[in-house]
């Protein structure tokens, strides 16, 4: 049955319309969870607010578990779901640069749109920076094309890399997430004093 677009159950225009509604859900939940606040997001890295960890990992394990059950029930063909390809070099380097951007800017791109939507001027500035950064990448592409394409490994799933079945890996990830939630709750009590006005 799913993905609906792949199996021509919906037209490509309907797919774009649904993208808009999915986006509304995305933005609404992010804003309701407090992701429109850079100080709340940055709290992750100073321990006083670990909302990012809780929302992010809860979402990941819910979506992952949902996909596995959908597949089990025959509701979705997982081979038709896009799996991000792995280019090991650029996955690490890009992540490192993004991590630096996160601690400097206090947003990631999705959250900066949310924050701008409720009037945060610093988020507009961050988005301006995003445009500049992406433009530098596209204009200077020949300079880092080789680097960008290095370390290509196909589109492996972690479960394949570790030799575990998807279900067993998912269970381990859920247990790891619960462990991290416990650490997050502990950190919020210990580092609550880090938040000053």
């Amino acid at each position: 049955m799913g993905p609906l677009i792949v199996h021509d159950i919906i037209s490509s225009n309907t797919n774009l319309l649904l993208a808009f509604f999915i986006g509304i859900g995305f933005g609404f939940v992010l804003e309701q969870s407090g992701f429109s606040s850079s100080r709340k997001l940055a709290g992750m890295f100073y321990g006083y607010d670990t909302t990012v960890l809780k929302v992010f990992f809860t979402a990941a394990i819910v979506a992952m578990t949902g996909l596995l059950f959908f597949s089990l029930f025959g509701w979705i063909d997982l081979d038709m779901v896009y799996v991000n390809p792995t280019y090991l070099t650029s996955a690490i380097a890009g992540g490192v640069i993004m991590g630096a951007g996160f601690i400097l800017g206090g947003f990631c791109p999705g959250t900066s749109f949310c924050a701008a939507a409720i009037g945060k001027i610093d988020a507009f500035v961050f988005i301006g920076g995003l445009f500049i950064g992406i433009f530098i990448f596209t204009e200077g592409y020949p300079l880092w094309e080789g680097f960008h394409n290095a370390g290509f490994m196909g589109s492996p799933r972690v479960s394949e890399m570790t030799g575990l079945s998807q279900g067993v890996f998912a269970l381990l990830l859920i247990l790891a997430a619960f462990g991290m939630f416990w650490v997050g709750e502990w950190a919020e009590r210990k580092f609550a004093g880090n938040y000053r006005y």
Partner: protein, 170 residues
């Protein structure tokens, strides 16, 4: 419940369901920076069409498309993202033109770091093929190895650098 944030675990479950819906409907995850890249490609196409057809990145990734660069899934999704954030802000009474910063950080300093962070995040997201939502979150949901690697690199680096930039936040 004005101004109160949602319980993070409930927020996480709802976000997970949105991500699941994206995969079920469209066979793909959520994203953000891709829409900005499409916007840039549209701008370049309008302002400098010959450059658009000749420069390596646009010619390899956009020029062969019959659709306009902005007629893309992620552009519509990001328009929704902004709309959803705005609706939530109205309901919660959080719409306000303001610069969020600790009292000891000047607005100028906040803007400087926001701009620098944005440039780094924008550039890094293209090197790494997707940002926190597109690569890390959506990648993890489909158990993409690259998604896990990028997620660990983003959060690991931010933790490692937190001490150096602590005066901006705590």
């Amino acid at each position: 419940m004005r101004n109160k944030y949602l319980n993070p675990y409930i927020g996480g479950v709802l976000l997970g369901l949105v991500l699941l819906a994206a995969n079920f409907v469209s066979g793909r995850g959520l994203g953000a920076t891709g829409a900005l890249k499409d916007t840039i490609a549209t701008g370049v196409k309008a302002v400098a069409p010959s450059h658009y057809h000749n420069a390596a990145y646009y010619s390899e990734n956009y020029a062969m498309r019959t659709e306009q660069p902005m007629n893309s899934w992620l552009v519509y999704q990001v328009l929704g993202l902004i709309t959803g954030g705005f609706l939530s802000g109205i309901i919660a009474g959080r719409i306000k033109l303001t610069t969020e910063r600790p009292s000891w950080v000047s607005s100028r300093r906040r803007y400087f770091f926001a701009l620098a962070g944005g440039i780094l995040f924008g550039y890094g997201s293209q090197i790494g093929r997707g940002c926190t939502s597109g690569s890390a979150l959506s990648g993890m949901a489909v158990l993409s190895f690259g998604g896990f690697v990028t997620m660990m690199a983003i959060f690991g680096t931010a933790f490692a650098l937190a001490w150096f930039f602590r005066r901006n936040w705590i």
